[in-house]
Amino acid sequence: MITTVAIFIPLLGALLVALLPDERRIIQPVALGVAAVPLALVLYIYVAFGSNLDAPALSQSYTWIESLGIGYRVGLDGLGFGMFFLAAFLTLIAVIAAWDVQRNLKQYYAILFLAEVGMLGVFAAQDLILFYVFFELTLIPMYLLVGMWGDENRRPAAIKFFIYTFLGSTIMLGGFLTLGILAGTFALEELTGGGGLGRTAQILIAAPIIFGLAVKVPVVPLHSWLPDVYLSSPISTNVVLSGVLPKLGTIGILKIAIPLLPQGVEPYLPYIAAFGALNIIYGAFAAFMQTDLKALVAYSSIGTLGFILLGAASFNAMGLNGAVLQQVTHGLYSALLFILVGIIAARTGTRRIADMGGLALSMPWVGGLLALGALAAMGLPGLAVFVSEVMSLLGGFDAHPVQGTVAALGVILSAMYFLYMLARTIFGPLRRPEWQGLRDAGPAEMAAIVPPAALLLILGIFPALLVNIQRPAVELVLSVIGGG
């Protein structure tokens, strides 16, 4: 019941916000309050049920159509918990970071909360059809957020985003339907292990599902919607767009494709690992010479997502845990960096890396946290991304040495482009004399950037805080796929 409440509270919140007068000083506190509720519930769940996520209080199961085995089934497990938390967390951050949304703030928040329903739902869904419904439920709000509040290129970007991911999810739905109808149920629990399907059937069904999810991640070369959308989005939308949305794809691989079709996914593993390595290397090289700071962060995001694929393809405890964790850590760092890019662009009036320089002199907090985010992204120990990357690498290398080696070389590339970026943005002499007086992050901005940075640090030092939660679920997956 708690889970259901957490998922649907934002829906009420959307209604509430929509009814309020369109004034920032009224709407923003209300929206903050609304966004805080799911987060508070998740934290309560963590404290009260951390070691016992399959407690009855957290799950619900109603059958809608007996004959087809479709039902409203939600519940939390170790695979989805981290992202369930992150979705609630980043929505709150996005609410705070909506300072660049100049018009129609209440519509903005209402749509953001609708998206939150979908995001939370995806990570809690225990039924294929329900998963799909929530999956699609995020699509329209995200499309609207980009299409209405984005910059001057927003319309083509939003349309591209919509068509790409709609196509992907439709193909995925085809796989879901085939699987569910052949197996006679759509409940994840009953489908685990293949739902009685043979190897060939599993292989055939796995293909469209993986493909559909790959568009969402996105996996190179299906990523060409991403730069346009990320570049056009308002900063606040970027937070959820980069922090949560890609994980709709990866959670599908980790929570659906692998446990439901273990024999079907298995032949694809070397390729999934290879695409993971490709993402890492391609993303890094594409980021390397970007002239736009936001584009650099966008491509870096594509790169680090590759570690999730690599870990997922390992089929061992180390790699799978790394992949599950990387979903969260990637979200933290990318959200942090996008907000900082937004702050810098707003202050200096440019996103061109070549036009910046010396920003840490006038904005030590903004510059310092940009450095922290960049260092996190390049996998520096002490910050959470390192833990998940190294676990993904250890597991991935164990199963696929060649792909693992290529992926490991990515740590050189990410260091290169991030340091190159830092040197030209925050370090060096102050580029323009009038930037001497640039205001450092204000209270609202600090409230948006300090929490993700702090979480990166806390999880970097104490990764067991999340790893212990996800470990039993990963062990369950391992027992299904018979790996070790």
Binding site: A18, N104, F288, M318, F386, F397, P463, E475
Partner: protein, 649 residues
């Protein structure tokens, strides 16, 4: 050991780490008092380290750990403390030099705009270095290995508004990161083959045959490449001379005494694994020997006093690597220990000169002997120690290495080491003679004075150690050699035999060192400028070759740096024009087809959106009849509708 003792040992790295957080977060409040916090913390850590050393001497190695990530059968990582004889000496050296540097920095960095931040990072460095030294496994080592690299980056770039400092910091991080990536792959190989990252367990697994042959050599060479990056060995040495853009006390601590020695320490730490691959040992030995010689030649012609000392560091680290490679384990680590003191002192001496006259160029100096007597005499002591002149500290360890190469029949390495002794004595006394003797060449040099006491006291202490630190490892009473020894296993594999102290070899290496000093005097003593000038004219191409660092940096710039950038531009353009262009083209083709089929669809994406909502709704309403879902769906529809009305796309 008792819980109290464990707590005390844990405090050694944790205290500086806490100091980092306090200074980083509350630096503005603490202001000038940052140095007192730092000195207090470092002094405490030093005292505790001495206590740890005492415990190791009396009770043997200290070892305990806590779980960090635990996946049960899937593997687990711990963060632990392993203080054996090797680590015990190392933590004492690290905390001691760190204390000296924190003292010295208080005055040197006075008035700096990021004073508290400087001390914050310096303490983070000390904490990370200690975490590295006490690591019992590769994962913990890697964590702190990267963190010391981060501190190095931040401290080289402390004056980041200077483009040279900014670029040097970036270069240092990227070049060492190449080594780190190799180290990481090495760790991956060990993990895959043995399922563990603990040094001891990997060694046992290798002995049991779980990893061996070419794979073991490959893994070790990869680990060694990590060490090559950190310890600035050829071919990844290029970052260290540039790193001299950082504040000089930083150069003394990080780029002379401690962090750059981490590569040597890594090889020593994993020695039981290394000895199982003779090929890997040979590579270590020859890379070390070659680097020692190469860097010494580069130091011959430099004018910047810090760069001369930096090349000297690269060269001396080469000695240590060579020693480990040829099986002279104790000698290699003994040299690391002695080097820490005299090299830190050389940097602090350079720092006082810079403090006095803000120039790094030795030809801007001159006549400093009279103006800065303390600096002069301490520098001479450090120089003699570096040159390996009896009976100073450097002599004892350097002699062990040179003699070791001879006795183990590595005659090529012996020859290289001996030439390096000559070059070392020459370049360091060239710098000392030019800077301190004769008449001041500039106004600044004329006005130079010794720095305040808070800076000279650490220099005098280090000078005393530069003379005496080696006396615990003399043939009369070889305390050091009896304490830090290779494990029984390693000694067995290497078939180490006792060699009596060779007076002939010792005399030879001292004679060669004195010859180097004599040549430096003949060329650079006051009034002999014409000798150096004519030598320069005669050997101009050689001079250019050395001064351009053997053209290695130029080669890297022309190939790797340019290549990576070109590839970056290529991928960027491919992504935007090639890939995205293709997708857009495909989209156009589809929409062209769509035009033909116009009657079938209405166009806008909003309609698709509406279609999804309505169909989900319809599905819920018709098939499921669930009132709740219907209500929720309607709500969605109403909100979307109101928004669509409220805002026009």
């Amino acid at each position: 050991m008792s819980a109290g003792q464990q707590l005390l040992i844990l405090a050694i790295p944790v205290l500086p780490a806490l100091a980092f957080f306090v200074l980083a977060l509350f630096g503005r409040l603490i202001g000038e008092n940052a140095q007192y916090v730092a000195v207090f913390v470092n002094a405490t850590a030093f005292i505790f380290s001495c206590f740890a050393l005492f415990l190791v001497i009396t009770d043997g190695p200290i070892s305990f750990s806590v779980s960090w990530i635990d996946l049960g059968e899937g593997g687990s990582f711990s963060m632990g403390v392993l203080i054996d004889e090797l680590a015990a000496v190392m933590i004492v050296v690290v905390t001691f030099v760190s204390l000296m540097i924190n003292l010295y920095s208080g005055a040197f960095m006075e008035g700096d705009s990021r004073y508290a931040w400087y001390f914050a990072v310096l303490n983070l460095f000390t904490a990370s270095m200690l975490g590295l030294v006490i690591a019992p496994n590769f994962i913990q080592l890697y964590v702190f290995w990267e963190l010391v690299g981060l501190c190095s980056y931040l401290l080289i770039g402390h004056w980041f508004e200077k483009p040279a400092a900014r670029d040097a910091a970036q270069k240092a991080f990227i070049v060492t990161r190449i080594g780190d990536a190799a180290l990481l792959v090495g760790i991956l190989i060990f993990w895959r083959a043995t399922g563990t990252t603990s040094f001891a367990e990997i060694s046992q697994a290798a002995q049991a045959g779980f990893i061996g042959g070419l794979l073991l050599t490959a893994a070790l060479v990869l680990v060694f490449i990590g060490a090559v990056g950190k310890s600035a060995q050829f071919p990844l040495h290029v970052w260290l001379p540039d790193a001299m853009e950082g504040p000089t006390p930083v150069s003394a601590l990080i780029h002379a005494a401690t962090m750059v020695a981490a590569g040597v320490y890594l090889v020593a730490r994993t020695y039981d694994i290394f000895v199982q691959s003779p090929a890997a040992m040979l590579i270590v030995a020859y890379i070390g020997g070659f680097t020692a010689l190469m860097a010494a030649t580069m130091a011959l012609v430099k004018k910047d006093i810090k760069r001369i000392i930096a090349y000297s560091t690269v060269s001396q680290l080469g000695y240590m690597m060579m020693a480990l490679g040829i099986g002279a384990y104790t000698a290699g680590f003994f040299h690391l220990y002695n080097h820490a003191f005299f090299k830190a002192l050389l940097f602090l001496g350079a720092g006082s000169i810079i403090y006095a006259m803000t120039s790094y160029n030795i030809f801007d100096m001159g006549g400093l002997k009279r103006r800065m007597p303390i600096t002069f005499w301490t520098m001479v002591i450090a120089g003699l120690s570096l040159a390996g002149i009896f009976p100073l500290a450097g002599f004892w360890s350097k002699d062990l290495i040179v003699a070791g190469a001879f006795e183990k029949h590595y005659y090529i390495l012996f020859g290289m080491a001996l030439v390096t002794v000559f070059l070392t004595a020459f370049y360091i006394f060239r710098a000392i003679f030019v800077a301190f003797l004769g008449e001041p060449r500039t106004e600044a040099a004329r006005a130079a004075v010794d720095p305040p006491g808070v800076m000279t006291v650490p220099m005098v202490i280090l000078a005393a150690l530069s003379i005496g630190s080696g006396w615990i490892g003399t043939p009369v009473a070889d305390l050091f050699g009896g304490f830090v020894t290779p494990s029984e296993f390693a000694a067995g594999v290497l078939a180490i035999e006792e060699h009596a102290f060779s007076y002939a070899l010792a005399a030879l290496s001292v004679a060669v060192g004195l010859a180097g000093i004599a040549l430096a005097y003949a060329m650079y003593a006051p009034g002999r400028e014409h000798v150096a000038e004519s030598a320069y004219r005669r050997f101009r191409p050689v001079h250019a070759f050395l001064d351009r660092r053997w053209y290695i940096d130029d080669l890297y710039n022309a190939t790797f740096v340019r290549g990576a950038m070109a590839l970056g531009v290529a991928v960027r353009e491919f992504d935007r024009r090639g890939l995205d262009g293709a997708v857009t083209g495909l989209g156009r083709a589809v929409s062209w087809t769509g035009e033909r089929l116009r009657p079938l669809q209405t166009g806008g994406v909003q309609n698709y959106a509406l279609f999804i909502v309505i169909s989900v709704l319809a599905l819920a309403a018709v098939v499921l009849g669930d009132a709740l879902i219907l209500a929720a769906g309607l709500l969605v529809l109403i909100i979307l509708g109101s928004i669509a009305v409220g805002v026009r796309l």
